[in-house]
């Protein structure tokens, strides 16, 4: 078990390394192939008032003329030991883990990311609880009442749910509930949980529901399918043959097995979500990681994009690992080797 975890952790690190290399290439190598020069890069970092000499100087200071490998090496080194950035008025220290230093905002990226994380975390945790509960409940009921009016209705709603883009449902919800009826918070409102839990929930309820609706629909479909499959398994028949009550058969034997894959998918989904619910955060103007990322992309703030990508990839890779470990706990057949 321990060796397995260690091996997986090393694998995860390697994976992150590859992700970082690919990301780095896309943003620093590919544009060069298109003829973008070091000074063009530097142009992004200087203000509009900068003269050409300033631009050249900045390019030099940032080492933008160095070979890409050297630049990448510098970036990696920064993660472990921190980096120094010389921007003229002194040397700015970007402590480890230094995932980059934004020359647009003149700030290290990492604290910014940490700053945005609680918002995304709030959104992800709240929404995922709602969609897990709602999706599984509806899915189980649907499976048990297969072919009934409820089943058909629920599945139509679920299929609609997965067919509705969150930026459409979000917009409708905002204009209906926030701006029309004024019963929910308008876009952009966020209060940290530590400040005022009630307000935190009030502000997030609409984003939660919007995000949860989409996923609840998908989970209802998954749960229903899994439940139908499980209830057709031989061991369910065995359980019935023992004379177990149907309710026990469903909850103890059926749900347990049907939920295992759902839980793992759930883990992965939450992992992906922690890296930023881009569409939801943008629709509701929530200052989370997803909004941060789109902002960074719009500003072509490469250090931010790099930092964000690494954090998001980290969550995904860790979610994979945790899900695998979890699976081993839930399903005794899985052996970690």
């Amino acid at each position: 078990m321990v060796t397995y975890i260690i091996r997986r952790l090393i694998g995860a690190l390697l994976m992150l390394a590859v992700v970082s290399m690919v990301t780095f290439s896309i943003f620093f190598v590919v544009p060069r192939l298109a003829g973008v020069t070091a000074t063009d890069f530097a142009n992004r970092y200087v203000g509009r008032a900068a003269t050409q000499e300033t631009v050249v100087e900045v390019a030099k200071k940032l080492g933008l003329n160095d070979p890409v490998v050297v630049q990448y090496g510098r970036w990696v080194k920064g993660i472990f030991v921190g980096s120094e950035f010389d921007y003229g008025s002194g040397v700015e220290h970007c402590p480890a883990p230094c995932f980059g230093y934004s020359f647009v905002t003149k700030k290290p990226v990492w604290p910014d990311l940490l700053d945005r994380l609680p918002v995304t975390l709030s959104l992800a945790v709240g929404a995922s609880i709602i969609w897990l509960l709602a999706g599984v409940a509806v899915g189980v009921l649907s499976a048990l009442k297969r072919g009934s009016l409820f089943d058909r209705g629920a599945m139509i709603v679920a299929l609609s749910g997965v067919s509705l883009p969150p930026f459409f449902t979000g917009l409708i919800a905002l204009s209906l509930f926030s701006y029309g009826l004024r019963i929910t918070a308008p876009g952009g409102a966020y209060t940290p949980f530590s400040e005022n839990p009630a307000e935190w929930a009030y502000n997030l309820i609409l984003p939660w529901l919007t995000l949860a609706f989409l996923n609840a629909a998908a989970y209802a479909r998954l749960t229903r399918a899994g439940m139908l499959e499980t209830m057709g398994e031989d061991y369910i028949r065995t359980a019935r043959a023992k004379g177990l009550k149907e309710s026990t058969v469903i909850t103890k034997h059926g749900l347990r097995a049907a939920l295992t894959p759902i839980v793992t998918i759930f883990g992965l989904d939450v992992g992906i979500l922690l890296g930023g619910a881009i569409l939801t955060e943008n629709v509701f103007s929530l200052p989370g990681l997803g909004k941060y990322a789109t902002g960074a992309i719009a500003a072509q703030d490469l250090p931010k994009i790099m930092g964000f990508t690494m954090l998001a990839a980290f969550f995904i890779v860790m979610a994979n690992l945790i899900v695998d470990l979890l699976y081993a706990v839930v399903d005794p057949r899985v052996r970690l080797a």
Partner: protein, 343 residues
């Protein structure tokens, strides 16, 4: 009312599907007493498994339409409430399933699954139930039962799983035990052990035992009576001796011909039955077996038009065939038996 411990009368189990009505079991009757063993034999799709499930009332998961009568120890089960049947399941009647790997829940230990079965019908503490489970495991021949109680099904070998499955079925001392292909998933040597075990247990428990199989070899040594099913119907029903020594149905002959026997040379070829089991939706008109029957031509054209009756040929030996009795016996004696034995 019935005198037999188990008496199934004109049982019909039909499943309406999008493609039509599937007549899985179509007018089946048989009887069985305590301490006796009935073998139900047939190819997959012949309705043998559905029969056993409907006795336990487990067919209702689907949209099955069931009619006829099932008398168990003086109680009629088809018309009984599902709840009543449920209370009987596991206690009065139990089932041993084919492929114990999929029939046992992968997430629970073997012990837990036996304990659960026991505690449904017996108000005992977990501790007591656990002791009982370990005893049962020991009884079915699992070594170190106290330790293996906490093993998961996948940690058992195929034979051990089947033993555990049997232990689970026996947990409440059932009076009727149905074993559905209990040895199919096992190695030949293990098959023999399991069959021995079942024979011993049946003797100890004095239960009525139904063994369902596609392999006549399995029931050969175990059964008192044998019921051969084809297309949802019984086509031959008699004592084990009748079926093995004096089979009268061409299908039974085919089964006998395809039965691997230890007393034969391994180089020898088996006699397969050509073709596939009939579709249960579009059962061939007339005798369901006639498209595959080598002797269909000798029925005078009745085979394709008339459904033959299950008729008594002599003393409790029933056969459903258009061929005249004498001709059947002649074919058996002259054409089939020598072929089977020659080799």
């Amino acid at each position: 009312m019935s005198d037999n411990f188990l008496d199934v009368k004109n049982l019909k189990v039909h499943f309406p599907t999008d493609d039509g009505l599937v007549k899985s079991v179509d007018g089946l009757s048989f009887a069985l007493d305590r301490g006796k063993t009935l073998g139900i034999v047939g190819e997959s799709g012949s309705g043998k498994s559905v029969t056993s499930l409907s006795v336990l009332g487990l067919h209702k998961g689907g949209r099955a339409k069931i009619s006829g009568e099932i008398w168990l120890d003086g109680e009629e089960l088809v018309s009984a409430t599902p709840e009543h049947v449920r209370r009987l399941r596991g206690k009065k009647m139990a089932m041993i399933f084919q492929d114990p790997l999929s029939a046992m829940h992968p997430y629970f230990t073997v012990g837990a699954q036996i304990i659960e079965a026991y505690r449904i019908h017996n108000k005992v503490t977990k501790k007591v139930a656990r002791k009982h489970a370990a005893d049962l495991l020991g009884r079915v021949g699992i070594p170190q039962p106290d330790r293996r109680v906490d093993s998961y099904p996948h940690e058992f070998s195929g034979g051990m799983r089947q033993r555990a499955m049997i232990a689970m079925a026996l947990s409440c001392d059932p009076e009727l035990l149905i074993a559905d292909e209990p040895t199919t998933a096992l190695d030949v040597t293990v098959q023999a052990q399991i069959l021995d075990l079942m024979r011993d247990l049946q003797r100890d428990f004095n239960a009525a035992l139904i063994i369902i199989t596609h392999d006549l070899g399995v029931v050969a040594e175990l059964s008192d009576d044998i019921l051969v099913m084809y297309g949802g119907k019984a086509i031959e029903y008699g004592s084990a001796e009748d079926i093995f020594e004096r089979p009268e149905h061409p299908y039974t002959w085919g089964l006998l011909g395809s039965m691997p026997r230890l007393d034969r040379e391994p180089t020898e070829r088996l006699l397969p039955i050509k073709g596939s089991p009939p579709s249960l939706i579009n059962v061939p008109a007339g005798c369901a077996f006639h498209p595959r029957c080598a002797f269909e031509g000798r029925t005078g054209g009745k085979a394709g038009t008339e459904v033959p009756e299950l008729a008594e040929t002599e003393g409790g030996h029933l056969v459903r065939c258009h061929l005249p009795r004498e001709e059947r016996r002649a074919i058996w004696a002259n054409e089939i038996k020598p072929n089977l034995e020659s080799a």
